[in-house]
């Protein structure tokens, strides 16, 4: 079956847009083909800085014929209806129609055969639509035609289009269409500098091969492979190691059609700047890789660049040029770094009084003071030295105003650490500058130094409480202040460091520190805020457990007990409960408890009353009743004391003892006894089962 080759040749496509554009092209073309009844065998899209290309193979040469029936008017219908029917169906006269018998009468039926069209024609129709509606993040007009409305827009000026269709053994045909003066054809161009002449191609195979001969590697993955392999090799040859960087590799591969990897170096003296600053300078500004020395694990004075040409001097001028630029950039970075070192971090703080954090939440200066106070309160709970914690919170944000962080925002925190160490701060205090931002996401490391933990928690809780107070909570996919991340970060800090922190109390304290109510601060309902925030934590915890493949319904079962604001204990309970519910005892007890709950809720509805209160031992008639009552008493006290000791596993083991009694009860005892008093007493006993299990969780909230 025939194949399609499509190429859209343009001026340089931004690297960051290339991968999605290739995907979009493949999806749009194949979706439309399928919608036209043209099922294809396979498709693959490619992209370079100057071209988007697509091959779709195994497309039928024609669409299948379509047969449809169309019901017309009744026999003997008015002439207008008949004429309308003939016109709509294209029949010449009623003689061409069939007649269908129906309980309602006899109707004319038209059989319409729509012959499938040649795929070439279908393509000629759908390809221009795709080009005109292509979803570039930003597109533009250009040239003479841009004077008229409706001019073609593309990511950058589009120069030519290849569109051929045909089977392997024959000369393919050009899909005939034109967009804004560009006729689809079979001509493209090679590398901008090394092979700029026109190339005529027939199909994908010779297209890819001819491009390669014309110094264009069509496949982005192939370009990445080349760059990575060559870069590693260049570093290795000198006894060094490439510092791999996937994001940079993706970008660099989108800047070249013919990657040529070269190595340059810079003056040793720049190695006095922190490695991260060197890397940020070389990576962000120059899109080059850095190289480390495996013996020391530190950066060396080398960098790796990816040129787009095989230069006639072997790349000497290119390397020399890049070295000059990198030297200038590193001089700037070194200057920034050394300038920063001249000012103590605390001397930068007054400036924060002028910088608004959020118009309703005051300045950065006020926020830093809030974090200091909250961190000092949290410090004893996490085993951190209060004075060090205060100092750490005081300095943690100061690096935001340094030159280096201004230039490279991604180095925030890290630079704070370097500057704090340089001015002789305690190691824990310095580390907190970097660590208090963590964890930034589910994969990020959680700090373990108590000082960092205290500042990190204070920072996150202040953020959450603040935005809650001004009613800027996340909604749906919108979370502009990254509050979900903050909550998840707090959860991980608490759980992974086994910290006992009453969230409600901490939230209340954070609220107390917020700017005064009034014009500045139109607070949402402050009374409800801590509880509301706690349920947000519960939701984040559920999401986290679900992501870890754990049972998230148990979170609800634990939070339903009320008063649970110690996240560590919640997690412990959930873990113990999950383990218990995996055992036979657990499963059966859950089933028994649910059965008791179901019966109770039916009977409560019937009698319009609840069955609270202790059962009357004198009314027990059967041994199973007595045994259950005894088991409940025993379990209550055992589980209760285990929970008090926070030994949830023991509490679960105690629960397990309830199971045989519950099973036996349901086996032998008829709850709805004829004697009302006995019935009431048995219902009270069922209620006791429910009450006993609440020592560990609300079983009714557990799924299954």
């Amino acid at each position: 079956m025939p194949d399609l080759l499509l190429e859209l040749f343009s001026e340089e496509i931004p690297a960051r847009m290339q991968a999605k554009a290739a995907d979009d092209l493949r999806r749009m073309v194949t979706d439309k083909l399928v919608a036209e009844g043209l099922v294809y065998e396979g498709a693959k899209a490619f992209v370079t800085p100057r071209r988007l290309a697509l091959t779709v193979h195994g497309i039928p040469a024609r669409q299948p014929d379509l047969k449809t029936e169309r019901k017309g008017p009744k026999i003997g219908a008015p002439d207008a209806a008949v004429q309308g029917f003939l016109k709509a169906t294209g029949l010449k006269s009623l003689d061409e129609a069939n007649i269908q018998r129906d309980p309602k009468g006899d109707f004319y039926i038209a059989l319409i055969e729509k012959p499938g069209r040649a795929t070439l024609d279908v393509l000629a129709e759908l390809l221009p639509v795709i080009v005109r509606t292509f979803p570039w993040p930003k597109s533009m007009r250009w040239g003479e035609r841009s004077a008229k409305p409706g001019a073609l827009t593309w990511v950058r000026p589009l120069h030519s289009i290849i569109a051929t269709f045909g089977i392997e053994t024959e000369e393919p045909e050009v899909v005939k269409f034109a967009i804004d003066g560009i006729d689809a054809g079979q001509t493209t161009h090679g590398h901008r500098f090394m092979a700029p002449s026109a190339i005529s191609v027939r199909r994908f195979d010779d297209y890819e091969a001819k491009l390669k001969a014309a110094k264009v590697v069509l496949d982005p993955q192939a370009r990445k492979d080349i760059i990575l392999a060559d870069a590693k090799q260049l570093a290795f040859a000198q006894g060094f190691e490439l510092v791999e960087d996937q994001v940079l590799l993706d970008e660099v591969s989108g800047l070249v059609e013919w990657p040529v990897v070269l190595m340059g170096s810079f003056d040793q003296e720049f190695l006095s700047i922190p490695g991260e600053v060197i890397r940020a300078t070389i990576r962000n500004n120059q899109k080059c890789f850095v190289v480390s020395d495996p013996k020391t694990g530190k950066l060396t004075n080398k960098f790796i660049l990816t040129a787009n040409i095989e230069a006639s001097d072997g790349g000497k001028a290119i390397i020399a040029g890049n070295e000059r630029v990198i030297r200038a950039r590193l001089s700037d970075a070194k200057f920034f770094y050394e300038t920063d070192l001249k000012t103590k971090l605390e001397d930068r703080l007054p400036k924060f009084e002028q910088i608004i954090f959020h118009e309703k939440l005051g300045t950065q200066g006020e926020r830093i003071k809030r974090i200091e106070r909250l961190a000092a309160e949290i410090a004893p709970l996490v085993g951190a030295d209060v004075e060090k914690t205060k100092r750490a919170a005081h300095l943690a944000k100061a690096d935001l105003l340094t030159e280096v962080v201004g230039e490279f925002p991604e180095l925030q925190g890290l630079m704070g650490k370097y500057y704090a160490l340089a001015q002789g701060e305690d190691a824990s205090v310095a580390a907190a500058s970097e660590e208090h931002w963590k964890p930034q996401g589910p994969a990020d490391r959680v700090p373990s130094d108590p000082v960092s933990i205290a500042v990190a928690l204070a920072d996150k809780i202040d953020t959450l409480v603040g935005f809650w107070a001004i009613d800027e909570k996340p909604t749906g996919s919108k979370d502009p202040y990254a509050l979900r991340r903050a909550a998840l970060g707090a959860i991980r800090l608490i759980v992974e460091n086994t910290i006992r922190l009453p969230i409600l109390k901490a939230a209340q304290s954070a609220i107390d520190g917020l700017p005064a109510k009034g014009a500045k601060y139109p607070a949402a309902d402050v009374q409800k805020l801590p509880a509301d925030l706690l349920s947000f934590f519960a939701d984040r915890l559920k999401v986290q457990l679900r992501d870890q493949g754990a049972r998230h319904d148990l979170v609800d079962a634990v939070f339903a007990l009320g008063g649970q604001d110690d996240l560590l204990m919640v997690v412990r309970r959930v873990e113990a409960l999950a383990k218990f519910l995996d055992t036979d005892d657990g499963k059966n007890l859950l089933a028994g408890t649910k059965r008791a709950s179901n019966i109770l809720s039916i009977e409560e509805k019937k009698d319009k009353r609840s069955f609270d209160g202790a059962p009357d031992a004198a009314l027990y008639k059967l041994d199973e009743e007595k045994a259950l009552a005894k088991a409940i008493d025993q379990v209550k006290s055992e589980a209760g004391s285990a929970v008090a000791k926070e030994d949830f596993a023991a509490a679960m083991r105690a629960m397990a003892k309830l199971r045989p009694a519950v099973d036996a009860f349901f086996d032998k005892v008829k709850v709805n006894d004829d004697e009302p008093k006995v019935r009431e007493n048995r219902l009270k006993l069922l209620n006791e089962i429910r009450a006993a299990t609440r020592a560990v969780a609300d079983f009714s909230k557990i799924e299954g």
């Binding site: 007009r141 250009w142 040239g143 004077a147 990511v155 120069h159 020399a320 000059r324 630029v325």
Partner: protein
Amino acid sequence: MKLPAIALIPRFPADTVPRAQNPLARPILPMDELPAHMRPERSFQGFILALQRFWAEQGCVILQPYDMEMGAGTFHPATTLRALGPRPWRAAYVQPSRRPKDGRYGENPNRMQHYYQYQVIMKPSPPDLQDLYLKSLAAIGLDSSLHDIRFVEDDWESPTLGAWGLGWECWCDGMEVSQFTYFQQVAGVECAPVAGELTYGLERLAMYVQGVDRVYDLNFNGREGADKVTYGDVFLQAEQEYSRHNFEYSDAEMLFKQFVMAEEACKKYLAAGWKNGGNQKEHLMALPAYDQCIKASHVFNLLDARGVISVTERASYIARVRDLAKACGEAWVHTEAGRAA
């Protein structure tokens, strides 16, 4: 044969350099005999003249700098206003650019509060504008078979001009040497047709071609020995004086007044310029009004450098200049040169 770091354009029979296979590397200019001191890699002025000559060959009118202080060549009415309206336009010129905040008292090797931009505007943007640009690089001595020239995404936006466009930073061996923009909107008006704009950072390019690391070391006149004049001879003292002025002594009170005066004058001229009492059909004073917009913009830059404008005020000043620019653009498209024939 050892090749020099920067390929020379063989314009002189004495130093013939093997011509690269790439057609773009061929000299575009006739093989006349330029004296050594006029060659682009030898002198700053020769470098500028090579660009002037190249773009003149492409049919551009070679204009002189606009006689007002401005932050970039884009502000020149030959770009801002001429980019609007349907009439074809091709121009090229050097524009001294004033960025008061970038002054470094002459101590930074490449940051200055006054530098030169070379500006090319072609409306409608020709289909081979990229090729023309690459040929212009060849004309100033950058051989594309030897250097790594790249078009790296850079979306251009000028909040003060109410303008945006798409294009690239052009990189030569990792150094940004030009900006390349297809104007989509200028002064709040859609460009129809679209103009292509090229902006070359002249000092930076010349430093690269001359192989110097400090802008003040650029050879300005191409002579050697006692006759040599450097960029520093011409501009170092000015950088020191203006940095002092911009950061420490400029009269902020006067500048605040000047801003308001320019703003009011601009509005006044715009209002008075409508023919037949403001029927909004034909405007007769778009250019003088736009001068006041340029003035306001530069005064704002001076105030900004002086550090007397707060963060919140800053946005509102920018918006005020943009409003002027937009009103001027609106007036321009109702003038003889700005409207459809």
